[in-house]
C-alpha cells in the first residue's frame, strides 16, 4: 500500500540515496524532482501524485505520475511532449494538470520558465565562437624545449648572419655604406673570397631570400658653404693635419667615396655646379704623413673633405685673374667664421697653394 507519510518518514530520518547535504541545505538528486530541494512536497518518492518537466535534446516533456499506476513502475510516468512555444506549453500544462494541487502546478510552471530561459541561452552560446583550450602533454613540451636548445646550438646564428652579410657585400648588393673605405674592403674581400674558395666543399643548392637589389646610386650632396660654419666651429683645426689614410702602400691617387664619378686627374680641381648639387672630385696625395688610422669615421671624412674643398676653392680664387674674387670669398666666409679660425683657414689655403705650386 502506498502511504506517502510512511515513505517520507523512512526516507527523511534514515537514508535517502538521492539526498545531497550541502552547507546551505538539503538537495534532491532525483531526476524527477521539480524543485531540486529535498522537501516533503517536492520528493517524487513520497508523493504518489507528482509531475515534472524534463528536457531531452532541447525538447521539453511533461511527466506525470498517479497513484493508479503506483503498482506498475514500468508504466508509472506518463509523458507529454511540450511545444517549443512558451505560451502554448503553459496552456498544455494547464490542460493536463487542471485538477491538480495549485502549488505543484505553480512549481511546474516555474520550472518550465527556467528551462526555456536556459535553453535560449544555450542556443545563443553555441552560436558564439569560443576559444577551445588545447593542452599539450608535459612530456611533449619538455621534448620540444630540449630539441630547440640543440637546434639553437647547431644553428650558430651569429656566424651565419655575418657570413651572409659579407657575401652580400661581395656580391655588391650594398651601393654605398659610408663607414668603411671601399678600396681596403674590396681587397680584403677578394682575399677572403679566394680563401673561402679553397676550403669550400660542395654545397647543396639552397633557396635563399635576398631583398631586391638596391641598384640606385646616390650622389652625395656637398653641403652648402654656409653650413660649413658649423663644421668649423665644431672642429678643431688641429685635428685635420692628423687625419690620414692608412694606405701607405697604395699607389698614388685614391678615391675616398664610392659614388663619386671617375675622373681623370690632371692636377686641377673641378668644381661643377649641377643646380644645387656640387660634385667635387677629391684627390689625395701620397705623401700625406705617417700617422695611421684603422678606419676613418664619418666625421673625420667629412672634416677632411671640407678642408680639401676649401683649399681647392681658395686655390682657385688665388689665381691671378681671380684675386679680386678671392678676397670677396675670404670676406664672405669671414661673416660666418670666428676670427681665429679664419686666419687659420687662410694660412691653410696658402699652404695648399704652395704645395700645389710645388707639384706643378
Amino acid at each position: 500500500m502506498q502511504n506517502d507519510d510512511v515513505i517520507w518518514d523512512v526516507i527523511r530520518h534514515h537514508h535517502c540515496s538521492y539526498m545531497a547535504k550541502i552547507q546551505t541545505g538539503n538537495f534532491c538528486r532525483n531526476p524527477y524532482n521539480v524543485t531540486g530541494i529535498c522537501n516533503r512536497s517536492s520528493c517524487p518518492l513520497a508523493n504518489s501524485r507528482y509531475a515534472t518537466i524534463r528536457d531531452h535534446d532541447g525538447i521539453f516533456y511533461l511527466y506525470m505520475k498517479t497513484i493508479e499506476r503506483a503498482h506498475m513502475p514500468n508504466k508509472l510516468w506518463e509523458r507529454v511532449k511540450l511545444p517549443k512555444n512558451y505560451m502554448k506549453a503553459l496552456e498544455i500544462i494547464d490542460k493536463h494538470l487542471e485538477y491538480w494541487p495549485k502549488l505543484l502546478v505553480h512549481k511546474i510552471k516555474q520550472r518550465l520558465t527556467k528551462m526555456t530561459q536556459y535553453r535560449i541561452r544555450m542556443v545563443k552560446l553555441s552560436k558564439k565562437v569560443r576559444e577551445k583550450i588545447m593542452t599539450v602533454p608535459r612530456k611533449e613540451v619538455k621534448r620540444e624545449s630540449r630539441r630547440e636548445e640543440k637546434a639553437l646550438r647547431a644553428a650558430q646564428i651569429e656566424n651565419v648572419i655575418e657570413k651572409e652579410l659579407l657575401e652580400r657585400l661581395i656580391k655588391g648588393v650594398y651601393p654605398d655604406i659610408c663607414n668603411y673605405d671601399e678600396e681596403i674592403f674590396n681587397k680584403l674581400l677578394d682575399k677572403n673570397k679566394v680563401e673561402e674558395q679553397e676550403e669550400e666543399e660542395e654545397e647543396e643548392a639552397e633557396v635563399e631570400y635576398v631583398e631586391g637589389d638596391y641598384e640606385i646610386e646616390e650622389e652625395e650632396e656637398l653641403e652648402d658653404i654656409e653650413d660649413m660654419g658649423d663644421f668649423l666651429k665644431a672642429n678643431n683645426f688641429d685635428d685635420i693635419e692628423g687625419d690620414e689614410d692608412d694606405l701607405e702602400e697604395q699607389p698614388a691617387k685614391k678615391k675616398a667615396y664610392v659614388s663619386y664619378p671617375l675622373k681623370q686627374d690632371d692636377g686641377t680641381e673641378k668644381v661643377r655646379r649641377k643646380g644645387k648639387k656640387v660634385v667635387v672630385e677629391v684627390e689625395r696625395d701620397e705623401d700625406m704623413g705617417n700617422r695611421q688610422h684603422n678606419a676613418m669615421s664619418n666625421c673625420a671624412h667629412q672634416k677632411l673633405r671640407f678642408w680639401h674643398v676649401f683649399g681647392r676653392i681658395s686655390r682657385f680664387f688665388s689665381r691671378q685673374s681671380y684675386q679680386f674674387e678671392g678676397i670677396f670669398f675670404f670676406f664672405f666666409c669671414f661673416r660666418f667664421f670666428l676670427c681665429r679660425t679664419m686666419i687659420d683657414l687662410w694660412f691653410y689655403s696658402q699652404e695648399m697653394l704652395q704645395r700645389d705650386s710645388l707639384l706643378l
Binding site: 576559444e131 620540444e144 630547440e148 647547431a154 674592403f185 680584403l188 639552397e206 633557396v207 631570400y209
Partner: protein, 353 residues
C-alpha cells in the same frame, strides 16, 4: 668480491696462453660484468672510475696519434689524413622529395600565382595589423611594442571581444595585408597567428624563448629604416611557402643605410628570429703569437673584413603548428599541413628545413 675475483681470473685466462684447458672451461663462466651490476656502491664507483680513466687515456692517445700523423704528413708535404666529421642531423638527412630545386619551373609558376606575389612584387605595400587574444598577459604589451618597432608599417589594435573572423573582415576593409595575433597562455606570449589577407593562408606558430630587448645585454636601439631580411634554410616546398609568407610582412625595398637586418633562421623546424644592426669593419689578426721568444716583430698582421653585429630587438623562436589554406577558419578551413606527433621520431625527418 667473488665476482671481482672471477672477473680478474677471466681476464687472466684470456691474456695468458698457458692454461689452455681453462680457456675451454672458462667461456661458459666468462661473462663481461658491467660496472653497473656490482651491488656494492663503493666498489662499483671505484670500478667505474677506473673504466672511465682508461677510456679517457685511450681517447687522448688516439687524438695525439692523429695530430702527430697529420703534422708529419704536412711536413712531408703529403696530404694530411682526412679529418673525421661528426655525425649530425643535418649530415644524415634523408633525401626529401619536397626540397626546392633552383631550376624548378613549377615552383616559380606557383610563386607567381601565390597569395603573396602581389606584395613580393611590390605591387602593394605591406600593412600589418597586430592584435592579441582576449586575455591579459604580463609580457604581451612589451613584446608587441617591440614587434611594432621591428616591422615597419605595423599597427596595434586592442582586441576587445571581437571574433577573429570579424577582425579579418575589418582588416580587409581597411586594406591590411596581414594580421598577427599574439596569443597568450599563462600570462606569457605563447603563440603567433599569421593571417595573410585577402584569402591568405593562416599559419599558427608556437612561440618560445622570448627575450625582450631590455633583457639583452648591450642591446642596440633600432631605427626606423626598412630592414633587410635574411631567411635561412627554408628548403622544402612547405618551408618555401612559409618563407614567402614571412617575407610578405616586410617591405621589399630595404634601406641599406639603416644597416638593420632581421633574420629568420630555420634549423630543424625551429625558426629563430633575430634582429641586429651591423657594421663592416677591418679586423687585424696578428699571427705568430705563440712564439713568445722571438725577438723579431710579431709576424704579419693579417687584416680581415668582417661584419660585426649588435643585437637589438626581441629574440624568439617559432615552431609551425599548422598551416591552413584561406583565412582563419578552424572548423571549415582546409589545412595544408598539421603537426602530427608520431610515436617513432625519426631524427632526420624534417618538414620545414
Amino acid at each position: 668480491m667473488a665476482k671481482e675475483k672471477k672477473r680478474k681470473a677471466a681476464e687472466e685466462a684470456v691474456d695468458g696462453d698457458d692454461y689452455i684447458e681453462r680457456e675451454d672451461e672458462k667461456p661458459k663462466k666468462q661473462k663481461l660484468i658491467l660496472a653497473s651490476q656490482i651491488k656494492n656502491k663503493e666498489k662499483r664507483s671505484a670500478v667505474y672510475a677506473k673504466l672511465k680513466h682508461e677510456k679517457r687515456v685511450e681517447k687522448r692517445k688516439k687524438i695525439k696519434a692523429r695530430d702527430a700523423a697529420s703534422k708529419q704528413a704536412l711536413e712531408l708535404g703529403e696530404e694530411p689524413p682526412e679529418k673525421m666529421v661528426p655525425r649530425t642531423i643535418e649530415n644524415t638527412r634523408e633525401l626529401d622529395e619536397t626540397v626546392c630545386r633552383p631550376d624548378d619551373e613549377e615552383l616559380f609558376a606557383g610563386n607567381d600565382a601565390d597569395e603573396f606575389s602581389a606584395v613580393l612584387k611590390q605591387q602593394t605595400a605591406p600593412k600589418v595589423l597586430i592584435t592579441t587574444c582576449r586575455f591579459n598577459s604580463s609580457r604581451g604589451p612589451a613584446f608587441i611594442k617591440e614587434l611594432l618597432s621591428v616591422i615597419p608599417n605595423a599597427q596595434y589594435y586592442k582586441r576587445g571581444t571581437y571574433e577573429l573572423k570579424k577582425i579579418v573582415e575589418y582588416a580587409k576593409n581597411k586594406e591590411f595585408t596581414s594580421i598577427i595575433v599574439v596569443h597568450t597562455n599563462r600570462r606569457e606570449p605563447d603563440a603567433l597567428l599569421l593571417i595573410g589577407l585577402p584569402d591568405g593562408p593562416t599559419a599558427h606558430f608556437r612561440l618560445s624563448n622570448l627575450v625582450l630587448r631590455k633583457d639583452i645585454k648591450n642591446h642596440g636601439n633600432p631605427t626606423s629604416h626598412e630592414p633587410e631580411l635574411v631567411l635561412n634554410n627554408f628548403t622544402t616546398r612547405l618551408g618555401h611557402r612559409v618563407g614567402r609568407m614571412i617575407q610578405s610582412l616586410f617591405p621589399q625595398v630595404p634601406n641599406f643605410r639603416g644597416r638593420r637586418v632581421v633574420t629568420f633562421h630555420n634549423q630543424r623546424d625551429f625558426i629563430f628570429f633575430r634582429h641586429h644592426r651591423y657594421v663592416f669593419e677591418v679586423k687585424e689578426k696578428k699571427e705568430g703569437l705563440k712564439d713568445k721568444k722571438s725577438k723579431a716583430s710579431q709576424g704579419k698582421t693579417e687584416k680581415k673584413a668582417i661584419a660585426r653585429l649588435q643585437e637589438c630587438g626581441p629574440r624568439f623562436t617559432l615552431k609551425l603548428v599548422s598551416l591552413q589554406h584561406g583565412t582563419f577558419d578552424t572548423k571549415g578551413g582546409e589545412f595544408e599541413w598539421v603537426h602530427k606527433v608520431t610515436l617513432s621520431h625519426v631524427y632526420s625527418h624534417l618538414t620545414l628545413d
